[in-house]
């Protein structure tokens, strides 16, 4: 087992180096001179230009710039945003809770609906419920989520007036960031209605972001359940006279969960990609919107650092899933 974990960790290192190199390389080939972009429309004198060129190290040879960047990254220094002049690392951690909160709620939505849907579909295989649920799942899987978001805004916010169109919190409330999680902070603030407002703001974005994971989880649960339900020990459990709900719920579902959990772990990348669209549409102040805004503002250090950090998160989650999977399924370790 230790050998397995070590081998996973060893492959992690070159991938990390590669990811750093790619996120660095992208920014160096972006069109436009970063310093001129930073100056904005006011322009700048030649001396000032040279001074900034030196300060950011853009006059150094490329390999030197990469080395400085890489050693900086290892020490937790990702550079400074051109726009806000704050460290990229700090900005990331101010905004990350917003994305994390949204992603967790989206995942809860997906799991709570997706697993029962998959189980029901598998149990009623080929019947009406199965067909209806799996058709719905396929529609969800094919959904352009940016359109789905606009559609929900039209119906739920526009026609019904149930939820707000954008943001994380009503303007009436103000309180300090304690955890960065709006749901927790609003409760801690003790202001009446603040928590309800946070929930209201979360509903639509969570549904939008959770739609594709929901469809994937439902499909995966169904096929995993079908596989398990045809196993001998299930037939034995039935033959023993256990009730259908006990067989399906306890024996089958528990064994069907392994591939489902893998899918949940691996959908982090999907969530981050979805967060880009969801956060942009709902003006959700998280990592996705930050990245899109920075790309449009040509805020190079932010794009570079954000790209690296997001890839790092995806890699760490995948690594964790891999290792957990090795614990659960000894066969994997042998590869």
């Amino acid at each position: 087992m230790l050998k397995y974990i070590l081998s996973r960790l060893i492959t992690f290192v070159p991938t990390f180096l590669g990811v750093t190199l790619i996120s660095f390389a992208f920014i160096r080939v972006l069109p436009g001179d970063p310093i001129i972009v930073m100056a904005g429309e006011r322009g700048m004198t030649e001396e000032r230009y040279q001074e900034l060129l030196q300060r950011f190290g853009y006059d150094q040879p490329l390999w030197r710039q990469f080395w400085d960047y890489f050693t900086g990254v290892l020490q937790g220094d990702l550079g400074t945003s051109f726009v806000t002049n704050r460290p990229v690392w700090g900005e990331f951690f101010t905004l990350f809770p917003a994305t994390l909160e949204l992603s967790i709620c989206a995942m809860i939505f997906a799991v709570v609906l997706g697993i029962p849907a998959g189980v029901i579909a598998a149990v009623y295989r080929g019947k009406f419920f199965d067909r209806a649920l799996m058709s719905t799942a396929l529609v969800g899987y094919s959904m352009p989520i940016f359109w789905w978001a606009l559609l929900l805004i039209i119906v739920v916010s526009g026609w019904l007036g149930w939820t707000p169109v954008s943001g994380r919190m009503g303007l009436l409330y103000f309180f300090d960031d304690v955890t960065g999680f709006m749901l927790i902070d609003s409760l801690l603030s003790g202001q009446e209605g603040a928590f309800a407002s946070a929930v209201h703001h979360l509903i639509l974005p969570s549904i939008v972001l959770g739609t594709i994971p929901l469809a994937v989880i439902a499909r995966q649960t169904r096929s995993a359940m079908l596989e398990v339900l045809s196993e001998d020990y299930i037939r034995t459990a039935r033959a023993k006279g256990l009730s259908a709900s006990r067989v399906n719920g306890l024996h089958a579902l528990r064994n069907a969960m392994i591939p489902v959990i893998t899918v949940i772990g691996l959908s982090v990348g999907t969530l981050m990609a979805g967060a880009i669209l969801t956060e942009t549409i709902f003006s959700w102040p998280g990592i996705g919107k930050w990245m899109v805004d920075s790309i449009f503002r040509r805020d190079y250090p932010v794009v570079q650092g954000g790209l690296l950090l997001i890839a790092l998160i995806v890699m760490l989650v995948n690594l964790t899933v891999d290792i957990l999977y090795g614990f659960i399924n000894p066969k994997i370790r042998k590869r």
Binding site: S142, G269, N318
Partner: protein, 302 residues
């Protein structure tokens, strides 16, 4: 290969039409797949004959009819059956022409990503261990980035346009083909027919492309169907974010981006382009499920 076909010939007569009809019989067992196929064909025909079908030029502006609702709503007329957008352009014509861009994107992305991915995957499968390791690490690195984010940054680097969006999407979809091809190659390489071909004196290129590749194609074809729909979705998403096709191109995602400010005023400018994306993608995914059932008995869903 010759051995395998002569063996099966004793029981079932093979050959082109036979294989095709066998494929169709599996494919048509899945009713959804058949529906998907017909819808896909319809969208394809609309894309091909867009010039004949569209009542107006997709760029023609009828300013006095701006934001006119579809015909069944109050204020709508048959003149513009699906209404007009904010500049008075006919929605129906723009939607019809949009089908072209989606198809174009899908075909180009799949061809580029699959060709590159299959070549690299074959290479990795046959290459010595060190080269294989380098290739697969490289693919891991690309896969570590969420595909849409990577495509977005790539397009920002290359400059926003439909062509660059397609290049970016093809690049981020490619690792999936590499992995699939390599996995099947590694699986096939140890089989007897490959060994016998090698013993018979087949050289490496022949071994790669003639002996092994045809037996690896089934999962790749399924992947091609899936990435066709991913390509359409991602291109529309990039268009929506302003990093894909640029206005006034009647690309569905770009149309949605143009219409965003009317989200609460004119439902049709939002609903219709998205519905077109959904229907196209859904039909392809339905077909993909059927293809999987027909081509790959191991992967059969139920």
């Amino acid at each position: 290969m010759a051995d395998a076909s002569s063996q099966t010939a004793r029981t079932v007569p093979t050959g082109r039409p036979g294989r095709l009809s066998e494929f169709w019989s599996y494919f048509s067992e899945n009713r959804g797949a058949v529906i998907g196929f017909w819808v896909f064909l319809a969208v394809f025909l609309v894309a091909v004959f867009a010039d004949l079908l569209a009542p107006y030029d997709p760029a023609a502006q009828f300013r006095q009819h701006a934001l006119q609702p579809p015909f069944w709503q109050n204020g709508g007329t048959w003149e513009f059956p699906l209404g007009t957008d904010a500049l008075g352009r006919d929605m129906l014509s723009r939607l019809i022409h949009g089908a072209r861009f989606s198809f174009f994107v899908g075909v180009v992305v799949v061809v580029v990503a699959a060709t590159g991915g299959i070549l690299i995957g074959l290479l990795a499968g046959f290459a010595p261990k060190w080269l294989d390791t380098i290739i697969m690490r490289l693919m891991d690195i690309i896969l570590a980035f969420p595909s849409l984010l990577l495509a977005l940054v790539l397009v920002a680097v290359l400059g926003p346009s439909l062509l660059n969006a397609m290049i970016a999407i093809a690049l981020v979809l490619q690792p999936h083909y590499v992995r699939l091809t390599r996995a099947s190659v590694l699986n096939e390489r140890t089989k007897d027919y490959v060994t016998s071909a090698r013993v018979a004196g087949a050289r490496l290129p022949r071994l790669m492309f003639v002996t092994v590749l045809p037996n690896c194609l089934a999962p790749i074809i399924v992947q091609a169907a899936l990435s066709f729909s991913t390509a359409i979705l991602d291109a529309a998403a990039l268009g929506f974010l302003g990093m894909g096709a640029q206005p006034p191109t009647p690309e569905w995602g770009t149309m949605l981006a143009d219409a965003r400010e009317f989200v609460l005023r004119a439902w049709w400018v939002i609903t219709l382009p998205g519905l077109a994306i959904l229907v196209t993608v859904l039909s392809i995914n339905l077909m993909g499920d059927g293809l999987r059932d027909a081509l790959d008995p191991k992967l059969r869903r139920s």
